[in-house]
């Protein structure tokens, strides 16, 4: 600690923002090292302001700390409210992700044993992300459901945010499983467009029915169509080039439908299946 101190007049001018640059620079350099002069500034600062900030700080220190996905999202520039919504999505909790990963790992192992099971894996792959979307809105599992029902928050926005979050997490898991497959690598990506198409269709259907029912309808239709083709060995019918273009068209169509009807439909998040 130095014996030299800023004189009271200099401190007063600095604290009021009236000090010229040389004095301010000098004062700031000194303040870093001198507790006495730092204390002397306190009397020039509005006590109500100090108290008000203290209360805010205490409130935030006492509040539960956001979970790390939430903090990561906030760091990436996502709004606090959106980050909380995404983090509260049931699908994104550990057990669900583990479940999806586990099922896929099992399927990959089975596919290496038997050629026919490989085809079944392709049929099953889009169901992973789809199930994730359904779970995200299953009433009993969503911790924010009661709040969501009462909050004047656009249903479609909630739907899209959560669907995007679910896809962002589940698609890489499925893709990793696909890369572990034996044989040609186009198989590893063949399910992507069907998944996009099924998801968009489910989203479009959610204007008419609850999310869980919509996903169930789409998933059932997919299984009914894809399983026989895959078992019969006509993989091209569901995953060939022509089929991929068809899936792309369905995905774009579903997206357009959502965009066009966004102001007129009500998403029934309230009633869950």
């Amino acid at each position: 600690m130095t014996v030299w101190h800023l004189d009271p007049e200099a401190i007063r001018r600095y604290a009021r923002g009236a000090a010229p640059p040389g004095l301010a620079a000098s004062a700031e350099a000194h303040l870093m090292r001198c507790a006495t002069c730092r204390d002397a500034i306190a009397s020039h600062v509005d006590t109500r302001r100090v108290e008000a900030i203290w209360h805010e700080v205490v409130d935030r220190v006492d509040a539960p700390r956001p979970s790390w996905p939430e903090r990561m999202l906030a760091r990436l520039g996502v709004g606090e409210a959106t980050a909380r919504l995404v983090a509260a999505t049931p699908t994104l909790r550990g057990p669900w992700l583990l479940g999806i990963a586990g099922v896929l790992a099992l399927a990959v192992w089975a596919a290496q044993v038997d050629e026919r099971l490989l085809r079944m894996l392709l049929v099953a792959a889009p169901l992973g992300p789809l199930a994730g979307v359904a779970v995200a809105f299953a009433g009993g599992l969503d911790p924010t459901r009661e709040i969501g029902l009462a909050a004047p928050y656009p249903g479609l926005r909630l739907l899209l945010i959560r669907t995007a979050a679910v896809l962002a997490v589940t698609v890489p898991i499925v893709a990793a499983a696909g890369l572990a497959l034996p044989g040609s690598h186009w198989l590893a990506a063949a399910w992507l467009l069907p998944t996009a198409a099924l998801t968009c269709t489910a989203l479009a259907l959610m204007a008419r029915m609850t999310p869980v029912v919509a996903v169930a309808v789409v998933a059932a239709a997919w299984v009914l169509v894809a399983t026989p083709t895959a078992m019969a060995g006509h993989l091209d019918l569901a995953f060939g080039v022509g089929a991929q273009i068809f899936w792309l068209a369905v995905a774009v169509g579903g997206g357009l439908w959502l965009a066009v009807t966004r102001n007129t439909v009500t998403i029934k998040l309230g009633r869950s299946a």
Partner: protein, 179 residues
């Protein structure tokens, strides 16, 4: 919270106590360090609301990361480092500074300040005062506040290239004046 008998502990001891969750120590640290931080940040940002927000963030960060203080140097300098970077982050997050920061226009140096400056800086203070506000703001952000070029650019609301050229010009001028 402000009317308490003074706590005899040093800043570093307070930080150590904060790591253990000592709220009293935190209040004491806040009482000691909030006022100057408020004033110092206030000189670098034209919006008092934003400054309030930033010091709030800073002390929440101090509470949470007290364990990360490496024990070297002044606690005040550590807190300042957190504070000024939070301010830069806050400015980057969208709310642009009201206008380009070239604070402290209208300089007029009194005799007593000359004495003060002579004590702390000698001729440097006078040379600094003779710079244009634009150049001075850059010197202040990079040399005195310890910011990187990019951070200084965000704080001042000018491109990083401009910070570099202004810094070069300021250095040349200071060299000339002090020669």
């Amino acid at each position: 919270m402000l009317t308490r008998p003074p706590d005899p502990r040093a800043d570093s001891q307070l930080l150590a106590a904060i790591v253990d969750g000592d709220r009293e120590a935190f209040a004491e640290l806040y009482r000691r360090h909030l006022p100057w931080l408020l004033v110092r940040l206030g000189r670098r940002c034209s919006s008092p609301e934003l400054v309030d927000e930033v010091v709030q963030d800073t002390f929440v960060a101090v509470w949470r990361s007290a364990g990360r203080w490496d024990g070297r140097g002044e606690v005040a300098a550590w807190i300042w480092g957190i504070g000024i970077r939070r301010l830069v982050d806050a400015l980057r997050r969208g709310r642009p500074p009201a206008d380009e920061l070239t604070e402290f226009a209208g300089v007029e140096t009194s005799a007593e300040e000359h004495v003060l400056l002579a004590v702390q800086y000698g001729d440097v203070g006078a040379a600094l005062a003779s710079l244009s506000p634009e150049l001075r703001a850059v010197v202040q952000a990079t040399v005195l506040d310890g910011l990187t070029t990019r951070e200084a650019a965000r704080l001042l609301g000018i491109p990083p290239g401009t910070v570099k050229t202004r810094m070069m010009r300021a250095r040349a001028l200071l060299r000339e004046r002090l020669a």
